[in-house]
Structure formats: C-alpha cells, structure tokens
C-alpha cells in the first residue's frame, strides 16, 4: 500500500561518532555506523534495538538535532536545514507525557505553537485549526483552555500528537511515544497514529524498545545492533520467523 513515489526521507550512509573523554586523550565512540534507509509517504518504519543500539541517535539526526559525522540525511531530496523546521514539515512525539507540554501554557497555546512559529495564519484561524485537530485526536475542544497538569497521561500524549500534526508535516519521529503509557491507553494511541497516517500520509519513524507495539504500528521494521542495521523487513515477518538470528532472539522474548 506504500506508493513508490520519491521517498520522503532518506538516510544515505549516515554515521554518527561521539567524541568522549578529556582533551588530551579524546576517544571516538561510534554511535551509528553507516545507515542506508528510505521511507515513503504514508509509511512507518519501526526502529528497534536495545539501549545503546543507536536508534535514538538516528532519530535525533532525522530531527536535525544532531549533524551526522558521515553521510547525508535528506528530506524530499533536500539536505536538512533549519528553514525546513519553520515550514512545519517535521515534528516529533516523545516519551514522557508529563513533560510533553509546557506546564505553564494552556494546552491550546502549546498545540498552536508550530503554527505561531510558521506565522502564516492569524490568531482566529489558528484557534479554529487547534479545535478541529483536538477533535480529530479524540479530545474535547474545550481541553484547549486547560493546563497540562489537569490531564491524564494518555490525554497529554494525544495533545502532543495534535501539536505534531497541526502543520500537516511530511515526516514525524515517534521516539518511545507510547512506552510510558498504560497498556489500555497505549492501544488507543497506536490506533490513533494508524488512522491519522492513513489520512495525512506523513512518513514516520517509530523508535521503541517495545517490540510488540513497534511490530503492530510499523509497515517495515529495522533492527539495530551496536550502531548498525542488521535487518530490515516487512513487519509481518516479525510475527513468525525474522531472518537475522539477533532479530529472532529479540522477538523470541515476546513470543
């Protein structure tokens, strides 16, 4: 179901190396070796691996928060530059609901923030856009006036998703977006992401140590081990017998 149009997102030989230790004996720590990946519009690529596998680092490269030491990261064929952010082409949903929204701002203001930064809509249009987006993520538009402190974890994460979608981005990074939620609420958010992707056709990376959730939400899954991708395959194969033995061992834990 993923069309074969130009990939929205492309990693071309992307590698990241951290420098560590005091000035006189710098040591190089390769966080990401060399990654080649492409993600088409409307497609979610799952990125799984244990802590230290480099999956979060790769996510940060995709958000422009880290510059790759090697290779290139392209959005719609263009190398990353800050202007892309202001257009609202890119957004992120992160792990901890209690810090997803600025506790001192009303939720409506936080959700509208990407629009305010892009600055092409007036206040009334922004307010209207927020109201419809809240409804779309299953929240009463009246919640726009509330402070994050008054919402449950699941509701705050829905707000974060509303904010991520408000500028119709081309690409969203979900970094452990459901890991801190309870099982019953997790399913709500996973289904919501699926529906919204079908409707908005954004490309997405779903980073998580939760193999079951990743398998459910992703079209394809990349398994990372110590900075390298050991296997990329459609999610379906992870329901029975993935090829690489590390993937097999990993998925055996949720058999």
């Amino acid at each position: 179901m993923t069309d074969v149009a130009a990939p929205v997102i492309a990693f071309r030989g992307v590698g990241v190396t951290y420098r560590k230790g005091p000035v006189w004996n710098r040591t190089e720590v390769p966080a990401v070796g060399a990654v080649d990946l492409e993600i088409a519009a409307g497609e979610t690529l799952g990125l799984v691996g244990e802590s230290g596998s480099g999956k979060t680092t790769l996510g940060r490269v995709a958000l422009g928060l880290i510059r790759p030491s090697r290779g290139e990261f392209l959005i719609e064929g263009r190398p990353f530059d800050p202007a892309i952010r202001r257009e609202g082409a890119l957004s992120v949903v992160l792990q901890h609901p209690e810090w997803a929204l600025n506790p001192r701002l009303r939720c409506g203001v936080s959700v509208a923030e990407p629009l305010t930064i892009r600055g092409d809509l007036d206040r009334q249009a922004r307010r209207q856009r927020v109201a419809s987006m809240l409804e779309r993520v299953g929240l009463d538009p009246g919640f726009a006036e509330r402070y994050p402190g008054d919402l449950s974890g699941g509701q705050r994460q829905r707000m974060a998703i509303a904010r991520a979608l408000i500028t119709e981005p081309r690409f969203i990074v979900f970094d452990e977006a459901v890991s801190a939620l309870d099982v019953s609420v997790q399913a709500q958010i996973l289904n919501l992401i699926r529906e919204l992707q079908a409707e908005h056709r954004f490309a997405a990376i779903f980073i998580s140590h939760d193999l079951a959730a990743t398998r459910y939400i992703s079209h394809r899954i990349a398994v990372m081990l110590k900075g390298d991708i050991v296997e990329v395959a459609p999610a379906r194969t992870f329901y029975d017998m993935p090829a690489h033995d590390y993937s097999r061992a990993l998925y055996a834990t949720i058999r």
């Binding site: 928060l65 001192r104 701002l105 923030e113 930064i117």
Partner: protein, 284 residues
C-alpha cells in the same frame, strides 16, 4: 500562570504558620518603610525636639539621638532606605542573573564557559572586601553599595538559574519547540523562563536577605548610604558611638533590621516549600 502559583501559595500559608509570620512581619515593615512619613510618628529631622540622648519615653517611643531628634521616625525612615536599596540591587541581580543563567544553561559551549568563568571571578571576591575596593574606586555611597550587593549575589543566582535551565532544557516540550523551528529567543522566553521562575523567586528571597545584610554592613563601616540619608546600617554606625550610654540608638535599628531579614528568610523558606516541597521520609 501566576494564578496557578498564588493559589498554591495561599493554600500553603494556611498550613505553615512560620511562612505566615514572615509574610505579616514583612508587610508591616514595608508599610512602615514606604508610608512612614505619612504616619504621625514625628518629624525625623526636627533637631532639639527632645533632650539629647533621651531614653525611650511616651513622647519619644525610641528615645532621642545625639541631636535631640526623635529616633522613632528616623528608624522608620531607615527601614525604607534599607529596603529600597536592597530591592534595587536584587532586581538588578535577578534580571542579569536570570538572563546569564538561562543563556549558560541553554546555549552550552563557549557561552556557558564564559558565563561560568565570570560567575567564578565575581564569586571569588568576599563581599565586604570588595566593598572596600569599590569604595576606593567609586567612593562610598549608594551606588557602591548596589554594585557590591549585586556582585556578591549575581554568581549564586547565575548558578541556580543555570542548573534549573539545564534540567528544563531537556524536557520534551522544549525539544518539540526546537523541532518546530522556534528561535533561540522564543525558546528561552516562552518555554524556559516561565518554568525557571519558581527557582528564581526562591533565590530572589535569599538574595534579598543577603543583600540587606551586606548593605547594613557597608553602611555600618560608613561605606554604604551617606548622610543625610540613613539606612538601618548607618543608624547603627552613628548609634554605636554612644553604645554604652544610649544603647537604644543601636538596639532599635539592630532589632528592626533582624526582624526584616528574618521575615524574608521565613517567607523564602515558605515559598520554597510551596513550589518545591521536600517531603523526606521517616526512617522508622
């Protein structure tokens, strides 16, 4: 946003009597300090209004000074001067300290190191000795006092704000703002500043109490407020000449000064417990 904090504070004061004591004491002193001259306390400058070095009496509740002036209105005026000077110094500290602290905490790299070194250098000067140097350079007076107070309180302010900024900057909503293209200024003013105000306010109250101590110490050494103006510290200085024969000239301003600093310390503790409650646990 302020409503959120004040509601919590209101609820808190009902439970914490110490905080309430501090707040009431501070309010009384502020009213005296600001509206003192409107109150019927006598004319602070009327020389010979009473006997020289007269003991406290009904006519002169705090006695009279070496020129026979009623001491009560002079002390009340002293409260005003002390608070005003300390407040000016602390506001300067708060503004500079918050901006530099936020910049250091959020921008990392060279900015962080530069600001940290500036803080270290200012921190290395013991307040009173720096006061002597400042008095030598710009001459004793209110300006010198303000410079000394700010120099003594800014480093700690920068360190506190920097450490809070470091933790707030890692929060998800800041990362999200950056990803959606927010400029550095916007991140600092819209996202960081409101979330570090709590820690800044707590540090402000402690800076205010330290500032009143330094101001009165400088004035006591004759380096702070210069005559005819008189802060509590200067009154202490003038009074100490007659310490053994007219002790009220020293004890009155001394006690009032202690009460003022105490009220701020109690208020600071209460605010800190309201905004950042440290409920330990029993070891039983």
């Amino acid at each position: 946003m302020i409503a959120l904090a004040s509601a919590r504070l209101g609820r808190f004061f009902r439970r914490d009597s110490l905080g309430l004591l501090g707040a009431v004491l501070l309010l009384v002193l502020l009213i005296l300090g600001i509206f003192g001259d409107l109150l019927p306390l006598g004319d602070p400058n009327a020389i010979g209004a009473g006997p020289r070095l007269g003991a406290p009496s009904l006519a002169f509740p705090l006695g009279t000074d070496d020129l026979g002036r009623s001491y009560l209105p002079r002390v009340v005026e002293g409260i005003g001067v002390t608070f005003l000077l300390s407040a000016i110094a602390v506001i300067i500290t708060a503004v500079i300290g918050t901006l530099l602290g936020m910049a250091a905490g959020y921008l990392h790299g060279a900015t962080d190191h530069l600001i940290a070194r500036i803080a270290d250098i200012l921190f290395a000067f013991p307040a009173l000795l720096f006061g002597l140097l400042a008095a030598a350079v710009i001459g004793p007076g209110s300006i010198a006092a303000i410079v000394v107070i700010s120099t003594a309180t800014i480093p700690l302010f920068i360190r506190v704000v920097r450490s809070v900024t470091l933790s707030v900057a890692e929060r998800e909503f800041v990362v999200a703002a950056v990803v959606s293209g927010a400029s550095t200024w916007r991140v600092m003013l819209v996202h960081l500043l409101p979330n570090i105000l709590g820690a800044a306010i707590i540090q402000l109250t402690y800076a205010l109490s330290v500032s009143m101590i330094i101001e009165s110490a400088l004035s006591f050494l004759g380096l702070g407020v210069q005559p005819p103006a008189a802060s509590l510290g200067s009154l202490l200085r003038l009074g100490s000449v007659y310490l053994t024969i007219a002790p009220w000239l020293v004890l009155a301003p001394g006690l009032v000064l202690a009460a003022a600093i105490m009220s701020i310390n109690l208020l600071g503790d209460a605010i800190r417990d309201a905004l950042d409650p440290l409920r330990g646990r029993s070891l039983k």
